[in-house]
């Protein structure tokens, strides 16, 4: 708790003074005070129409600047981002330039195509795996094509499927070169794109060896249409036994050798690629995304043949450079977005509110504040309703006491059980207020603000109308307290706030130029400012 002192963002340290009036607290309490867990600070920053209008009036400030400085944006950690952005910019400038002459001219588009192909394939695979048919296909004995950092289009057969639905792993027997049995430790090579997309199967040049590994979904690039008969337990046991140093030089068991031979024969029979299961036709996945994904994948694969850059002698090197540059660029773009205006959490709400203001003609389409907007700037609460009431001339047929009573709905926020007795003119006024509130509530809802029209209208409660009316006509306080079940303190507070509202309406009337309304408001103010309600307080100034 003692960590709260100091100004946010400006002070590095602060001072906390614990005032002990009745003796020093005991150690446990002091400990909690100094090192205990503080209450979580939550930003109470609200975008109000008044704030937006006032900021739009001034040329020098923008509303987005104001929003950016609020505490609600504190989590954005802009300083760290800014530092990283400058670091990335430096890196980008020091990278070697790309050679894009001649055959390499379409290198960049090739890179984009390959990336898109990879993303499409991954999403398709995820869809396959989440489907029932896909899981059935990936059962024991299915031959799959493995593609990761260690293996390149190598054939493998599934031995075991783990039960974990979230991170499913597949234990598989894969053919590989002798000496390449151990899994490569680093994950980075997995992430690197293979520059050339090909479907030629891997056939070991030397003596064929095998390895049993746990594979993740990303490593399986395709499911073939073939299955093999295997005895998975024997294979796994045999392999694990031979991993121990004592049995390392034993020859592989019969089950394993048969399986490996089968795989090798398959690979040699189909060197240029083996038929794989099609998600749409074979696995019967009919979702729109899957079908579109498959089509797109095919289009991309076909287009890869037309690129010239793969024939260039320096292709691999240039591709690696492109990859490096693009990854730095992508990170830079992401960070720039995060520090920009577009990522402010309150930005969508800001746009919605501007739409409401434009629809009500408080600002024009270029953002200049109109007369209605200038009036609304003067009002601190319920600005839309009050401005609309003013411009609808609702207060003119009412006497000063009645208008004070009507405006009490803006300051009174409690529910009452006793319904007040109201005169006819006042009732008409109330109906008009409710109509206007309904209209504004619906408009806000249309523009996307998350508050229903009923909630908006329900904010305005008319429980104190009779009380204020009688008070303004001179009834003593003791009698009006009996008119309602609201507590006396609430009545006093509401009438004091009502006086402030009347002052704001007077200001607004001066801007508009209507002196009749102004004088009416002044008379209303005089009528309510008397007696105990406005006696100077002993405690405040």
């Amino acid at each position: 708790m003692a960590g709260r002192a100091g100004r946010r963002g400006l002070d590095a340290t602060g001072t906390v003074i614990i005032l002990c009036k009745a003796g020093v607290h005991d150690m446990g309490d002091l400990h909690a005070m100094m090192l205990g867990k503080p209450t979580v600070l939550q930003s109470q920053f609200r975008l109000t129409y008044t704030m937006i209008l006032n900021l739009l009036r001034v040329e020098a400030l923008r509303v987005t600047d104001m929003m950016r400085r609020s505490f609600s944006e504190n989590h954005r950690d802009t300083q760290a981002h800014e530092k990283r952005i400058s670091e990335l910019r430096n890196t980008l400038s020091t990278l070697p330039p790309l050679d894009t002459e001649g055959q390499l001219s379409d290198l960049l588009s090739y890179y984009h195509t390959i990336t898109e192909l990879r993303i499409t394939t991954e999403s398709l695979q995820r869809a396959v795996l989440e489907s029932v048919n896909g899981l059935k296909a990936l059962s024991v004995g299915r031959v799959v094509i493995v593609n990761n950092g260690q293996h390149r289009n190598a054939l493998g057969v599934i031995l075991q499927v783990s039960n974990d639905a979230v991170n499913r792993t597949f234990t598989a027997l894969i053919i590989c070169e002798k000496g390449n049995e151990e899994a490569a430790g680093d994950d980075l090579s997995n992430k690197a794109l293979h520059p050339i997309y090909s479907t030629t199967l891997f056939i070991p040049e030397g003596p064929c060896s095998h390895t049993v590994q746990k594979l993740k979904l990303q490593d399986i690039s395709a499911i073939t249409a073939k299955t093999l008969k295997v005895i998975p337990e024997r294979i796994i046991d045999n392999y694990n036994k031979r991993q121990q140093p004592r049995f390392r030089l034993d020859p592989p068991g019969q089950a394993i050798s048969t399986a490996t031979q089968e795989l090798l024969r398959l690979a040699e029979a189909n060197p240029n690629g083996i038929t794989t299961l099609d998600p749409v036709n074979d696995l019967h996945l009919k979702g729109v995304d899957v079908v579109e994904g498959v089509m797109r994948q095919r289009v991309l694969q076909d287009s890869l043949k037309d690129f010239h850059c793969i024939h260039s002698p320096t292709f691999t090197e240039q591709f690696a450079r492109v990859q490096e540059r693009m990854s730095v660029q992508e990170e830079l773009d992401k960070l720039l977005f995060l520090v920009s205006d577009q990522s402010l959490t309150l930005l969508p709400e800001y746009h919605q509110r501007i739409k409401v203001l434009e629809a009500l003609q408080y600002v024009d389409s270029t953002g200049a504040v109109q007369l209605k907007g200038r009036v609304a700037c003067q009002i601190s609460s319920h600005e839309l309703l009050l401005t609309e009431l003013l411009f609808e001339n609702t207060l003119s047929p009412l006497a000063p006491e009645e208008s004070a009573a009507l405006l009490s709905c803006l300051v009174f926020t409690q529910n009452t059980q006793i319904d007040p007795h109201i005169t006819n003119t006042l009732q008409e006024g109330i109906n008009q207020v409710l109509n206007v509130a309904q209209r504004i509530g619906e408009l806000q809802r249309d523009c996307g603000i998350a508050q229903t029209a009923e909630d908006f209208v329900a904010q305005f409660k008319f429980g104190l109308t009779e009380v204020v009316y009688c008070w303004a006509r001179g009834m003593p306080f003791a009698e009006i307290a009996q008119l309602t079940d609201v507590q006396e303190g609430t009545i006093v507070r509401c009438i004091q706030r009502l006086d402030e509202v009347l002052k704001e309406v007077r200001q607004a009337a001066r801007i508009v130029g209507d002196s009749v309304l102004g004088s009416k408001m002044e008379r209303a103010s005089l009528a309510i400012r008397r007696d105990i309600v406005f006696t100077a307080s002993l405690y405040t100034h």
Partner: protein, 273 residues
């Protein structure tokens, strides 16, 4: 050196035939005209109640906002609004403030506490006293003492209210359209960040080409205000482009003025339509 002289003559009213259709609903009144006899309306500035009838007290255009009726006068002194940008001239120096002349009913005040620097200022209206005098402030670096340039005086009602009043025109000069009718033309500053908004006013001589651009702009502004065209950056730019065909000093001749204004008006109508 030959000198041309003209006697004052009545301005010919220029009207564009086809475009008047969207301007027919402009309700123009003179003082004493009855606007309406309906009592359901609130009366705003420029009107008064004459036995139950809403009558205009100034000559201008009637504006209706919901149930409020007010008359916006065609020619008036400047009435300050909070947030307006004005150009003023210091007329008096008092103990803790300056008196600034801004073409309004009363001189505006610039309090010592509202400035970053002393001098004759470009300022922003901070608040309005109850008698209508405006209080200015020059807090932002954009505001401050103005350097070399040309002042043009027009009627305040001709300056359109916009989001920003500082304009850098592509023809090479910059313009500040003060809401009080004082317009300031100056050469666009070379380096983009002007230090301290005016502590340092550059006294370097302005090049001839810049001077010519500014003179042409000044004559254009006078032509536009003579024909009561609303002033904002687009209209000034169109007028400038239309005037390039003529010599700078010819722009002030009435017949050439009419030509230029006609062309400007047509382009503006096309822009809207």
């Amino acid at each position: 050196m030959a000198v041309e002289m003209r006697l004052p003559a009545v301005h010919k009213h220029i009207s564009l035939a086809a475009s008047q259709s969207n301007r027919e609903d402009k309700h123009l009144v003179v003082p004493g005209d009855v606007i309406t006899s309906d009592t359901g309306f609130m009366r705003g500035h420029g009107t008064y109640m004459d036995e139950d009838r809403l009558t205009a007290s100034v000559a201008g255009e009637v504006e209706r906002v919901n149930k409020l009726i007010c008359v916006r006068p065609l020619k008036t002194r400047y009435n300050g609004e909070v947030g307006d940008v004005v150009v003023g001239r210091i007329t008096e120096v008092q103990q803790k403030r300056w008196k600034v002349e801004t073409n309004s009913r009363l001189d505006s005040v610039l309090l010592l506490s509202s400035v970053n620097l002393p001098g004759g200022e470009l300022a922003e209206v901070q608040s309005i006293f109850s008698d209508g005098a405006v209080s200015l402030h020059t807090r932002s670096l954009k505001y401050g003492k103005l350097g070399q340039g040309v002042l043009v005086l027009v009627s305040p009602s001709l300056v359109k209210r916009q989001k920003t009043h500082f304009h850098n025109l592509p023809c090479g000069a910059s313009m500040i359209l003060g809401n009080n009718g004082y317009l300031w033309l100056y050469p666009t500053p070379g380096q983009q960040d002007e230090e301290a908004g005016g502590y340092y006013t550059s006294m370097e001589p302005v090049s001839l080409s810049d001077r010519e651009v500014i003179s042409r702009l000044r004559n254009c502004l006078l032509a536009l205000s003579a024909h009561k065209v609303l002033l904002y950056d687009t209209s000034v730019l169109y007028c400038y482009e239309a005037s390039l065909a003529h010599q700078i000093k010819d722009i002030l001749k009435p017949e050439i003025m009419e030509e230029i204004i006609l062309e400007t008006r047509q382009r503006l109508v096309e822009l809207e339509g």
